[in-house]
């Protein structure tokens, strides 16, 4: 190991922190069995690296070095606390004796640790809010401030949410393990919505927070890749594909002034072909296997859009069919609405309008702005402009986000020309 100048070491250390710190943390949590202590040990290990690497050189396996150092730091901390808490004594002894083979810390088993961490942070006994915050903090390594700003919440609220979640993990005995075969499908159902929620939080970006929010989508895709790598499963593939296919349209979704552009009006040359190719391959693989579900089906629909040269040349029959399967598998009024819009593209606006009005009469989507916007759009295409205007106004009243309100206003202005 050559002695290096401190700048090189510093750069290498930063890279290591970015690429490895979450995996090192995951392994430390397994070895130490305590979130806070593992985090403390992680920071101490990096502090030690900052001091020792310039003098002693960069170790062959930085990850194994950090795990090993972190483990010793944790033992120190536990020994220091010994007089105050008798229970930690046992942990220290176990750690000292049964730390395992250091060779393990550099290889594939670390991936398992990372996966364990995901399942712990997304345990169904934690609220969805807590799962999202904890996953972003512990698995993705975002700071509390970054998470707070992405969710338009205060740092204090976020910090408290994370502290409470960690306390519940400890006092309720939420295990640090990948669930067994029997529970896996149900437990994955707890993990996938967390990732999709993080993705959507970054995807329906309103201007202003665009930067941080796009980061959220990237983090969600990174998590999806990690999960897919560690636990290949049709719904994991489906979710990753769905995120990639949506993300591929990011640059085309807004115009230069930040206004929303509808799918049918988007400049398809702006779509990211590489992401689409990856997404399509994942969808195909998911649909080939048994046990695909709502995520793979939604991804399949996104894939048809992604491969169509224009809105008019889209295979709407196939899309209507996929929505039909989707609504049997996961019935929801929003899926009914999307299906109605696809029917309108296939059979004309009158057929779609009939379905949309039936859905609105059912009541559940009465306050959903997109239902009224869809109805308005169909009426406009049928040249029933007076009714279209009223429906756009209703949609405007219900819309929450700036860009969506602006888009609806533009449609209203066009009607009045």
């Amino acid at each position: 190991m050559a002695v290096l100048n401190s700048e090189t070491v510093q750069r290498r250390l930063e890279e290591t922190y970015r690429d490895e710190s979450r995996r090192v943390l995951a392994t430390l949590i397994r070895l130490i069995g305590d979130f806070e202590l593992a985090e403390e040990a992680l920071h101490e290990a990096f502090a030690a690296a900052l001091k020792q690497w310039p003098e002693e050189g960069i170790p062959d396996s930085p990850r194994a070095w950090l795990v090993s150092t972190g483990r010793f730091k944790a033992i120190d901390v536990i020994r220091r606390r010994r007089r105050h808490e008798s229970a930690v004594d046992e942990i220290a002894r176990e750690l000292d004796e049964g730390g395992g083979d250091p060779a393990d810390w550099a290889d594939d088993r670390v991936g398992d640790d990372h996966l364990r961490l995901v399942f712990t942070c997304c345990h169904p006994s934690l609220s969805m809010d807590a799962r999202v915050a904890l996953t972003l903090r512990e698995v993705c390594g975002l700071t509390t401030e970054e998470i707070a700003s992405a969710f338009l919440s205060s740092s204090a609220t976020l910090a408290q949410r994370i502290v409470r979640a960690k306390k519940k993990i400890r006092s309720a005995g939420i295990p640090y393990q990948v669930p067994g075969r029997r529970d896996l499908p149900e437990r994955l159902d707890g993990v996938l919505p967390v990732i999709y929620l993080v993705f959507n939080e970054g995807y329906s970006a309103s201007s202003g927070e665009t930067l941080v929010r796009a980061d959220l989508s990237r983090e969600a895709i990174r998590l999806g890749r990690l999960l897919n790598q560690l636990l290949p499963n049709p719904e994991v593939q489906g979710l990753l594909a769905l995120m990639l296919l949506n993300e591929s349209r990011r640059r085309a979704r807004t115009d230069d002034t930040g206004d929303l552009v509808l799918l049918e009006d988007q400049d398809r040359t702006l779509w990211d072909r590489q992401m689409i190719a990856e997404g399509v391959e994942l969808v195909e693989s998911a649909l080939r296997s048994r046990g695909f579900g709502p995520y793979a089906l939604q991804a399949a629909i996104a894939a048809i859009h992604a491969e169509a040269p224009s809105a008019a040349e889209t295979d709407w029959t196939e899309i209507v069919g996929l929505y039909g399967v989707l609504r049997r598998l996961a019935p929801s009024p929003v899926i009914e609405l999307n299906r109605a819009v696809a029917v309108a593209m296939r059979d004309g606006p009158a057929a779609g309008l009939e379905l949309v009005e039936a859905i609105l009469e059912n009541g559940e989507l009465g306050d959903y702005h997109l239902a009224h916007a869809a109805r308005a759009d169909l009426l406009r295409r049928m040249e029933r402009y007076g009714e279209a205007e009223a429906a756009y106004r209703r949609a405007m009243e219900l819309a929450q986000q700036g860009p969506e309100k602006k888009f609806l206003q533009k449609r209203l202005d066009q009607l009045q020309l």
């Binding site: 006994s125 309720a172 529970d183």
Partner: protein, 114 residues
Amino acid sequence: MKYLCLVYSDEDRLHSQPDSPGDSECQAYAESVAGSGRMLAAEALQPVDTATTVRMRGGEMTITDGPFAETKEQLAGFYLVDAHNLDEALEIAADIPAARVGSVEVRPVRELQV
């Protein structure tokens, strides 16, 4: 870790649903948990109209009839188990026959700090 699995159910419906378990099934499940070595205690309870509530206030004891609070679902029984972690406790709770008609709240036991 010790966990208390509290079995709640609407008493009027507990024994009259198509999925309602009979006593022999409940007994058999309790024995299987005991056989796995994770059972500390388990009992079924008489209906809440047999309950008596006691309070001590300022050294005075008051006794009232009925449960401490009226609820839609009532405590119908409990399992006190010793499990490695929450997942294991949830697994035991999920297979309690009455979970098919009621719900089971799983609570970790707090060790007293003495």
